[in-house]
């Protein structure tokens, strides 16, 4: 029983890294994704193309490869980041690209009439975006954002290859040392618990912002 408790504590420790990567990535990638979406929709062709390229690059290569690149390749050209920062950089750039596409689709799904109505009422473009368009986009993108967020919880386990002691690596270490499969089970429960909380939270958000579409 004591052993199980120790295992549990060790893994709780490991989940700290997991949670840190999850939270920081989300906090950075959401606004960055919004900026990228606006850039992608920009009338400036160069800007739009540049963002398109970035999105293609990030979505077109494995996240694991991006992690390895930031972690091992950047130091070769003299850019040396602390472990956690390297992981966060790769995660943020990757997830921002996915969020950008979700936001872009959301923005484009708002009927032209909404812009025209705001314009004929004298509202400026920033006012229109902030007050009329983005609140509707926010509601519309909740389900796909929820999806990506849950993916992120599980993707954090990719830092395993960077030898960072996240939840999965801690579990694996204990399994190897003790010849006991229990840590894998516990890890699964940890991931499920996080996913459960997220699912519940997004459901609440959807209900709250869905009150206007009957």
């Amino acid at each position: 029983m004591d052993k199980l408790f120790d295992t549990f504590l060790l893994m709780l420790d490991g989940s700290e890294i997991t949670l840190e990567i999850f939270v920081v990535t989300l906090v950075l990638a959401l606004p960055l994704g919004m900026l990228a979406a606006l850039g992608r929709l920009s009338k400036l062709k160069a800007m739009s193309r540049l963002v398109e390229f970035y999105i293609w690059l990030m979505r077109g290569t494995p996240l694991m490869l991006q992690l390895l690149f930031v972690y091992f390749a950047l130091p070769m050209i003299g850019i040396r980041l602390p472990d956690i920062a390297a992981a966060l950089l790769a995660f943020t750039l990757n997830y921002a690209a996915y969020f950008a596409e979700i936001f872009r689709a959301g923005i484009q799904s708002i009927p032209k009439g909404q812009y025209e109505a705001a314009r004929t009422l004298g509202m400026s473009y920033p006012q229109t975006m902030r007050r009329i368009i983005l609140p509707q986009v926010f509601r519309m993108v909740l389900p796909p954002v929820s999806n990506e967020t849950i993916n992120l919880v599980k993707d954090t386990s990719l830092v395993y290859i960077l030898a960072m002691n996240d939840l999965l690596r801690v579990a694996r270490t204990i399994v190897q040392r003790e010849f006991d499969m229990m840590p894998f089970l516990i890890a699964a429960i940890f991931y499920l618990a996080m996913t459960f909380v997220l699912t519940w939270g997004f459901k609440k958000l959807e209900a709250h912002y869905g009150k206007y579409d009957n």
Binding site: P111, T120, L121, Q127, I132, Y212, N214
Partner: protein, 260 residues
């Protein structure tokens, strides 16, 4: 009805308006003039350019050449090269502040309640406090018969109710000219009546209105001037009585016959 005692001030004047979408010329030299308190009805078959003309008034579409004057001030003029030039954005916004628009598809803000739809622009654009504009918004809702719907969302209202909210929303910015782009075309027939009734009341109060419509009864009874457009040109125009009683052009007669 538009009465002759109102001031003769010209609210809107458009001269020799040309507008093309690519190779397709949709407006081929249109002239209109609307005085304070007048209701101009623009009728015509679909594709005649009437909605485009209306959308040119408030710059939702830009003209290729011609001039647009709102309350005596130019929004756009044609330069020596024959190209339309608009005044700078700031001046343009201040001129267009005297116009309001009601759309075929209502275009209410779905994430806001009825009252929020009304007060949003006055608060954002004019910087009014909620308490300063809400009484007026309530007054407008009463006027369109929707006082009891202030806290509803647009999706909870019928099409006719939504369109009346849209009219109240436009009025809340206190425009001098109200533009209607086929305001009843998206409505079930039994719901057009309530919207037309609201528009008739506005006409009686000498609101200056430009109405693109398929409702011949409204054009006949509530307008002060009727324009019939086809193929990007004005075919015929006149006082509604004479226009509907004895249209001169064959094209007009054929159109009116089809509508009745």
């Amino acid at each position: 009805m538009a009465n002759t005692t109102t001031k003769e001030e010209i609210m809107l004047r458009m001269h020799d308006i040309h507008k093309s979408f690519g190779d397709l010329e949709v407006l081929k030299g249109i002239d209109i003039e609307v005085r304070r308190g007048e209701v101009l009805a623009i009728i015509g078959p679909s594709g005649s350019g009437k909605s485009t003309l209306l959308r040119c008034v408030n710059k939702l579409e830009t003209i290729n050449s011609g001039s647009i004057e709102i309350k005596g001030e130019f929004l756009a003029v044609t330069n020596e090269d024959g190209q339309a030039e608009y005044v700078d954005a700031k001046k343009g916004r201040s001129l267009l502040a005297s116009t309001g628009m009601v759309f075929q598809q209502f275009n209410l803000f779905p994430h806001m309640t009825v009252i929020e739809n009304l007060i949003e622009a006055p608060m954002q654009v004019k910087g009014l406090k909620r308490a300063e504009i809400e009484p007026y918004a309530q007054e407008l809702l009463a006027k369109v018969g929707l006082s009891d719907r202030a806290d509803y969302y647009p999706s909870q209202l019928s099409g006719g109710q939504q369109q009346r909210v849209a009219i109240a929303r436009a009025l809340c910015m206190k425009p001098d000219i109200l533009l209607f782009d086929e305001p009843t075309s998206a409505l079930d027939p039994e719901l057009t009546g309530e919207v037309l009734k609201t528009m008739r009341e506005l006409a009686k109060e000498h609101m200056t209105m430009v109405v693109v419509t398929h409702e011949m009864a409204f054009a006949r009874e509530a307008s002060s001037h009727v324009i019939f457009m086809a193929d990007g040109m004005i075919v015929e125009q006149g006082e509604p009585e004479a226009f509907f009683a004895a249209p001169k052009e064959e094209r007009t007669r054929a159109f009116l016959q089809n509508m009745l």
